[in-house]
């Protein structure tokens, strides 16, 4: 790749709505993507991720709203003049061209001289580990190879904005992990503003500067991976990311009670009518010596124990019947003997791990 001459562009989405009949594919979405940022849209199937990407690329005309690349309003700019790279969920490779023909296509349109096209195509293919595949026909490639050709084609003309719709979904785990790092490096090297779509939360947490969690055409929360995981704004986000269980708690003045006992918590609870205690499985600690000092203790009974190699999952029922899931590392005493179903246990949650969230359904 040649070094970049042009700067990345910030993207500003304001009040974009797109309806399909009664369906709000996008519902008043506003989003600021900083220049050079790697932002991921994360959400369940049908939540509007592809629709938002299509609006950015110019293929879907929203009902209303504004879209700016830098200072330029582009909501009415046709797709071919937007100069954004994109990978499609269906790959969309041209079947009548070779791999090199596909990757070289945007360069040919930009009237890049032939020898330079060849060099840049080869470099782009190397980046996605498909060096030497230039002469292959598209139907001679596996699904994962096609996805990588699509990525190569989207980056080869060094767009200032790159949109990717689940570009790694067809890859096996090992190659996906590798490509995630590859794409991250590429992003660091080329510095283009990237909007990435996935419904794999681990992928989102691994790769992103910030993540926008989308549901029913709305952005539920926009935050760094860390904030999203540690401080989810609402129950949907807390539920969608990680494998939390939730316990209903009540507020009494400044204290928060669970089952009549005050909870110790480091961060203040949100201002909301109803509160929930979010319990992350890996944050709960199994205490073999009874209640501990300075933490929240829960008396529980083991209902299911699952051995998973590197860790174990323990489902436990609290006195009032609420369920807590605990993930523990397989080491020390746990290797010798895991708790058995029916055992009475004490589960501990440190004050810094005691996260209270807004319990209203949003």
């Amino acid at each position: 790749m040649t070094s970049r001459t042009n700067e990345a562009l910030p993207i500003s989405v304001k009040n974009v709505t797109k309806t399909y009949g009664p369906v709000h594919a996008l519902n008043d979405v506003s989003l600021e993507v900083q220049s050079g940022e790697f932002l991921t849209l994360l959400g369940p199937s049908g939540s509007g991720k592809t629709t938002l990407l299509m609006v950015l690329a110019g293929f879907t005309r929203p009902d209303c709203g504004s879209l700016k690349f830098g200072d330029r309003e582009v909501i009415r700019t046709p797709p071919h003049l937007r100069d954004v790279g994109m990978t499609f969920q269906s790959y969309a490779l041209f079947p009548h061209m070779t791999v090199a023909g596909n990757v070289g296509y945007p360069l040919k349109l930009r009237k890049v001289p032939k020898p330079e096209i060849a060099a840049r195509v080869e470099a782009a293919l190397d980046t996605v580990q498909l060096g030497g595949f230039g002469d292959r026909r598209i139907d001679q490639l596996s699904g994962g190879q096609r996805q990588r050709v699509a990525v190569a084609r989207a980056i080869v003309f060094e767009p200032r904005i790159l949109l990717m719709d689940e570009p790694l979904s067809a890859l096996d785990k090992k190659l996906r992990d590798q490509m995630q790092i590859e794409l991250r490096h590429l992003h660091e090297k080329l510095g283009m503003t990237t909007v990435y779509v996935t419904h794999d939360q681990r992928e989102a947490l691994t790769m992103s500067d910030r993540i926008a969690v989308v549901n029913h055409g709305r952005i539920m929360q926009l935050a760094t991976p860390r904030d999203l995981y540690e401080r989810p704004a609402n129950r949907f986000v807390a539920d969608f990311i990680g494998e939390s269980t939730f316990l209903p708690v009540s507020r009494q003045g400044d204290t928060v009670l669970f089952d009549g006992t005050p909870l110790l918590h480091d961060s203040p609870p949100p201002e909301a009518a109803s509160l929930l205690l979010m319990v992350r499985p890996e944050r709960v600690v199994l205490s073999r010596e009874g209640p501990r000092e300075g933490v929240n203790n829960f008396a529980a009974t083991a209902t299911e124990v699952v051995y998973q190699g590197d860790s174990f999952l323990l489902h436990a029922a609290l006195a009032d019947g609420a369920q807590i899931v605990l993930r523990g590392a397989m080491r020390g005493a746990n290797v010798t003997a895991l708790p058995a179903v029916g055992d009475a246990l004490t589960l501990c949650l440190a004050p810094e791990d005691t996260v209270l969230i807004d319990g209203s359904e949003a």
């Binding site: 499609f88 969309a92 041209f94 079947p95 296509y105």
Partner: protein, 294 residues
């Protein structure tokens, strides 16, 4: 070890049996083709080499080479076929493109309309054109009342009339395969092209059009070959001015009862058609090799 050997023989026998069964299924069709195609065509070849005196001779072919009129007939035949095919492409391709862009239900309705002419006989349609195009026909009268031209003009009993009729009849044969090819194109491909910087026109010529080529080839070929042997429409609408090979064959038989001459014409037409098919199939294969065919 011994048992494994026996298995191998058994497996080979099974495969052979399977093949024979398949062949058995195909044999009625093979027989039919033999009876209605190979034998008559062989007979055709044979008859074309029989002279007026009933002995073997090349006179039928020599006559074709010597007389200018034959050359003109072949020229007309290919001219009409080329022009019809070309006009069908010019009219049919945009129409197929238009229909392919419509919502599915409306598109189906349009396709039925395209096929509607098949519900009436060829002869009826041809005579209908005769009525429409004649001197005092609907087309002339409307054109005059609209001021397009002042005097009734001759648009039938000549090349123009023949082409109008032929194009009308051949159009569905072109539209259907082209439409099929267009429908098979993934919509995301056009989006990808424009995302990569292609203007709508560029995207059409570099992505859409190449992907419809196999369908266009198939349709054009069908139209062209059907045209080569066409009889009714040029006979009725050409008014004796457009003489195609098929018409010469008929007159050779009906007027001169010269089976040999008629057969020779048939043979030349058949061979030239096959040559065209062969050339075209090489193009089609080329298309497959570049990944255009599916």
């Amino acid at each position: 070890m011994e048992a494994v050997r026996t298995n191998e023989l058994g497996l080979r026998r099974d495969e052979w049996l399977e093949r024979m069964k398949l062949f058995g299924l195909g044999s009625p069709a093979i027989l039919l083709i033999l009876v209605i195609l190979v034998i008559p065509v062989g007979w055709l070849f044979y008859v074309s080499f029989i002279g007026a005196d009933g002995t073997f001779s090349l006179e039928n072919y020599e006559r074709m080479l010597k007389r200018k009129s034959y050359a003109r007939i072949f020229q007309t035949t290919f001219e009409v076929s080329f022009l019809t095919t070309g006009l069908c492409i010019l009219i049919g391709y945009p129409l197929a493109y238009f229909i392919a862009g419509l919502p599915n239900r409306i598109a189906n309705l349009c396709l039925i309309t395209v096929l509607l002419p098949f519900w009436t006989s060829l002869l009826v349609r041809t005579y209908a054109w005769l009525v429409l195009l004649q001197k005092r026909g609907l087309v002339n009268e409307w054109a005059i009342s609209l001021g397009l031209w002042d005097e009734p003009i001759k648009i039938v009993h000549n090349m123009t009339g023949t082409l109008i009729g032929m194009v009308h009849i051949m159009l569905p044969f072109l539209i259907l395969p082209v439409y099929g090819a267009m429908k098979a194109i993934d919509r995301d491909l056009m989006k990808a092209a424009s995302n990569l910087g292609a203007s709508p026109r560029r995207a059409f010529w570099t992505v859409f059009f190449p992907l419809t080529l196999p369908g266009l080839f198939a349709g054009s070929l069908m139209v062209f070959i059907l045209c080569l042997g066409f009889f009714v429409t040029p006979a009725v609408l050409g008014g004796g001015k457009v003489i195609m090979v098929s018409m010469k064959i008929v007159s050779n038989i009906e007027l001169f009862v010269n089976w040999g001459a008629a057969s020779a014409l048939g043979v030349v037409l058949l061979v030239s058609t096959m040559v065209i098919l062969w050339i075209a199939s090489r193009f089609l294969n080329l298309e497959k090799m570049t990944g255009g065919g599916h």
